[in-house]
């Protein structure tokens, strides 16, 4: 079984995780820029992080035969400080020239504040200006519904943004339909305690179909499982899904979306 891990924060994971993912059939891992668990003290911290994502992490992955790609942005948890966000966004164009960069992400909202929304718009502008794919983080728990609606409104109102070049991540039962109805891609995050369990993710697939949808572990420094995608593939098998259907969800679909970036090459 081969699969693509389309959303994982490998800077927070151990080398053992890379090995286990490779053994489970992972061929490529894609790493969106995110919150480190604490606020960086300046834009220089982001410069170092972007260097880590574009230079160091691909080498670490390559030791296990894994291709490593990344997305760049300032995350929504640090977006309340608009001046900092402006400084970080100014750093990004230089890094877009790196060969493993797929686009702008994971941008989005966290608490659905005005400043978060302003920074989201600034980063959508950046994506439009440089013709980049967009990966969107939707808020957690009670904030997800409202945040998803606000994000979709912004994206739909910008006619430069093609919906098929946007993935809205962390969808659940109450947000997946509105995302797919917009023509955008939907990502389901498989977490042990929040977001989707494997069983619920498969329920969503069985209800809404297998077009424009992928699954990811979003493994990071919190409670998460870097093998969540292959474990969900096993759950699909238990439920009688055919091998070709499973391959579509865990390999072909992410490959189809990510291939819209000229930097996404598996060989």
């Amino acid at each position: 079984m081969r699969y693509i891990e389309p959303h994982a924060h490998m800077v927070s994971r151990t080398t053992d995780d890379y090995e286990r993912m490779a053994l489970a059939g992972c061929e490529a891992v894609c790493e969106p820029a995110f919150w480190a668990g604490f606020d960086r003290s300046s834009a220089a911290g982001f410069f170092d992080y972007f260097s880590q994502l574009t230079e160091h992490e691909p080498k670490r992955a390559a030791k296990f035969g894994l291709k490593h790609f990344c997305w760049l942005c300032i995350n929504s948890k640090e977006a309340e400080d608009v001046k900092l966000a402006e400084e970080v966004i100014a750093l990004i164009p230089k890094f877009l020239k790196c060969k493993n960069v797929l686009g702008i992400g994971e941008i989005g909202l966290n608490k659905n504040s005005r400043n978060e929304l302003r920074v989201l718009e600034m980063q959508i502008e950046l994506a439009a200006k440089f013709d980049q794919l967009i990966l969107v983080h939707t808020p957690h728990l009670e904030d997800k519904l409202k945040g998803t609606r606000l994000i979709l409104d912004v994206l739909k109102n910008d006619k430069r943004i093609l919906p098929e070049r946007v993935i809205i991540d962390h969808v659940e039962e109450h947000t997946v339909e509105m995302v797919l109805d917009c023509g955008m891609w939907a990502g389901m995050t498989l977490y042990p305690e929040t977001k989707c369990t494997p069983a619920r993710a498969i329920d969503i697939l069985e209800t809404y179909g297998s077009e424009k949808i992928w699954m990811n572990s979003a493994c990071d420094w919190g409670v998460s499982d870097p093998l969540a995608v292959p474990k969900t593939a096993l759950e699909m098998k238990k439920r009688g899904h055919l091998a070709k259907t499973i391959e579509k969800i865990i390999f072909s679909n992410p490959k189809k979306f990510l291939h819209q970036s000229p930097n996404f090459k598996l060989v």
Binding site: K77, E80, H140, L141, E142, K146, A199, R239
Partner: protein, 88 residues
């Protein structure tokens, strides 16, 4: 999958989770002090599990959600607690 196959695969797991919820509510009832909006949201969400209605997972998620539509003035925290304080 048939209903029988789903029961075979998931019944024990669902039974286990239901008992955990019941024990959680018993634990709350035994404890001293005041509860807060989270428990009210929890009870409102439980009420969505009535009968054979469709979309119960979606309705539970909606019961915990912020249903307002305008951005807040400023983010004063980073975390989410799982329920929105809408029920007074």
């Amino acid at each position: 999958m048939t209903k029988q196959q789903i029961l075979d695969l998931y019944f024990l797991d669902a039974r286990h989770k239901l008992i955990e919820i019941a024990a959680f509510l018993d634990r709350i009832e035994r404890a001293d002090g005041k509860d807060d909006f989270r428990l009210k949201s929890f009870r409102a969400a439980l009420a969505k599990l009535d009968g054979k209605k469709k979309n119960q997972a979606k309705n539970v998620l909606l019961a915990f959600s912020d249903l307002t539509t305008k951005p807040i003035a400023k983010a004063t925290s980073k975390g989410a607690c799982g329920a929105f304080p809408k029920i007074k």
